[in-house]
Symmetry: C2
Subunit: 201 residues, 2 copies
DNA sequence: TCCAATTTCGACCGTCGGTCGATTATTAGT
DNA sequence: ACTAATAATCGACCGACGGTCGAAATTGGA
């Protein structure tokens, strides 16, 4: 049990790195087992299929991010900071930087889609709780909180993940965020500082 | 020239149907050429790769939808009707029904992603023009029209494509649409009738 | 020590996207 | 009408891929 689980985690780590750097489709099982120094049979002793392994890798990432977000939610920060902190948790930027870009390459369409689905499921409740806190504190005024949060997350990931977005995009997004949550105009402007700067043309 | 283009279109049609019904990944080149009654070499005489053929299929779909949308834009409808008409054009519901669902199966993640990118590029200008018309007519009040339109399309496709969305989702979406475009509260409620009814649980 | 469960091994398989040289239709110039 | 060039078709073949399987090795408790 102990030994087996350790090997499984080891394989997960190796695959995690390779999926992100080369893409899921472009990473062959042969490459993974070569990097791990094991035989084909051993790989399929721990994972039913390559795709099932992808699910496991994603689950690993989501769990780590959700844990970080829960820590933020339970902290003593002011509500707006919590909002930002939770959203920041939803990015796998923890230990490495180029992960963001990797997710958005076409060869990772499947990974990205699956990742976003599960990320949404995990983060809508957390963010909703923070927003409710804001409503109680008089910061926000809105109903249908989970739905609004879902749209915000959807928009945010769709907009920023792709990398290409303009100043105008950011302005409108912040405007949408304020009206969506019923916050005072301009009160969310501080988010602008959190948005990554212009990269490629 | 004439003969070749005809065969190319024929292959495109066959692939279009198979990609949607079985998924891009699950459709093999062998299946396509068998359905078309041609040899492998002939297929690769017309298409450089399977993926390049996917691009061509998507281009075909987009073109048809954009043409329909342009017709709506140039028509004499009142502006709100145009909005709805253009958005309706963006769905391949014209001749077949199960296409919607097919796009959203995980095996079509790539097709779906590419489709949405190109659909956005084609439809943001068209919808923006309709919105500007609305602004001139005093229906809407907003700046940054292309960015707002982009977000609307992003949200709409993300929300409705997945199939699962609630009454609350629709309410919030319409609310977002009104505030995003600066329309009078409730003025976009008529859209609710256009939204597909509840399908699966 | 012995046995049974766990773990590891790698040869092998069917399928896939793609290549290539040969072959047949089609076209155009004289 | 003949022919040379061009367009179109063919299918055997290839390497890479994800996945299978029976056997061998390792482990740990009685």
């Amino acid at each position: 049990m102990k030994k087996g689980e350790k090997r499984r985690q080891e394989l997960l780590q190796i695959a995690y790195r390779m999926f992100l750097t080369q893409g899921y489709e472009n990473t062959s099982v042969d490459e993974i087992i070569e990097a791990a120094g094991i035989a084909k049979g051993t790989y399929y002793y721990y994972f039913q299929s390559k795709e099932q392994m992808l699910e496991a890798v994603i689950g690993m990432m989501i769990e780590a991010e959700a844990t970080a977000a829960r820590r933020v939610l339970a902290s003593e920060m002011p509500t707006p900071r919590k909002l930002v902190g939770i959203i920041a948790s939803a990015r796998p930027t923890q230990d490495e930087q180029p992960i963001e870009a990797a997710l958005n390459q076409p060869e990772n369409a499947l990974l990205h889609k699956r990742m976003r689905e599960r990320l949404l499921d995990a983060f809508v409740p957390l963010l909703s709780e923070a927003v409710e806190e804001g409503v109680r504190g008089g910061l926000f005024t809105c109903d249908h909180i989970p739905e609004r949060v879902k749209m915000l997350l959807l928009l945010g990931s769709e907009l920023f993940d792709e990398g290409r977005f303009t100043e105008a995009d950011a302005d409108v997004f912040i405007d949408v965020m304020e009206t969506l949550l019923g916050a005072a105009p301009g009160s969310m402007g501080f988010i602008r500082a959190l948005i990554p700067q212009r990269g490629r043309a």
